[in-house]
């Protein structure tokens, strides 16, 4: 997992498989970085994510709440087709948009 700030947005490059087991570490690291870097928005890069089940949806909803408390928003980009499917099955689509690239995401979130 990689973290970096672009203006007030914390970009999180997720990696590998997102399930109930791996969500524990993801949640901790994202929340810690979000507080430490005093970020407002959260942007998840899904390029290197190879699998995500409904535990990942729960994790994203939790991060949505975190950002909302900080007055920010949350976005996703580079979402693989398989993962787009589970996003559509849930209603997280209403809470966060999947952008086609980082530039577009940053512009919309700013």
């Amino acid at each position: 997992m990689e973290f970096y700030m672009l203006d007030s947005t914390l970009v999180v490059a997720l990696m590998g498989e997102i399930d109930h087991h791996t969500c524990v570490a993801i949640r901790q690291a994202v929340d810690r970085n979000y507080q430490k870097k005093r970020a407002k928005n959260l942007l998840f890069d899904f390029e290197k994510v190879t699998f995500m089940d409904s535990s990942g949806i729960g994790m994203l909803m939790g991060r949505y709440r975190l950002a909302a408390i900080g007055g920010g928003r949350i976005g996703l980009y580079n979402v693989p087709k398989d993962i787009e499917r589970i996003l559509k099955m849930s209603n997280v689509c209403k809470l966060m948009k999947a952008y086609s690239n980082k530039q577009e995401a940053l512009k919309e979130l700013a």
Binding site: E17, H20, D53, S54, S55, I86, M89
Partner: protein, 142 residues
């Protein structure tokens, strides 16, 4: 000749075994030469059922036993996930989209919905105090 095969595995109810279950089922199903999408669907459904056994069935106690039975006949795959955990009071209610009993945790309540979406048939049999059995079926395309 019709192709037929069966396997069974069991493991302790530890979350690290969610990935193990996906890898094990993939290795077995690969014998049927599924498409990438079909394999992904099956991994998703198994991941959901195994996760449920671990977090809901055994409530994060790490010494429960989760069993997976899988068999195929030609292109029809049967997968059963069994736990001897706390069971479900109302299966009908539990299977509603967005329904979850883990309120303090970040659960989406979509596990059963995902299983139904990924597989052709999902059948849940559960008795409070005795455990839960999830039976799923999927036919491969070609």
């Amino acid at each position: 000749m019709p192709k037929r095969n069966e396997m069974q595995i069991q493991f302790l109810s530890q979350s690290v075994n969610e990935a193990f279950a996906r890898v094990a089922i993939s290795a077995f199903i690969t014998q049927l030469d599924p498409t990438v999408e079909e394999l992904y669907d099956i991994k998703m459904a198994v991941s959901e059922a195994v996760t449920n056994a671990i977090i809901h069935g055994y409530e994060d106690k790490e010494d429960g036993i989760v069993a997976i039975k899988c068999g195929y006949q030609d292109k029809v795959i049967d997968i059963t996930i069994i736990d001897e955990g706390k069971g479900i009071k109302s299966v009908e209610e539990a299977m509603q989209p967005l329904y979850t009993t883990s309120l303090e945790e970040e659960r989406a309540g979509l596990g059963f919905t995902v299983m139904q979406e990924m597989m052709d048939e999902v059948e849940v049999c559960s008795h409070p105090g005795l455990g839960t059995t999830v039976k799923m079926k999927k036919s491969l395309e070609k």
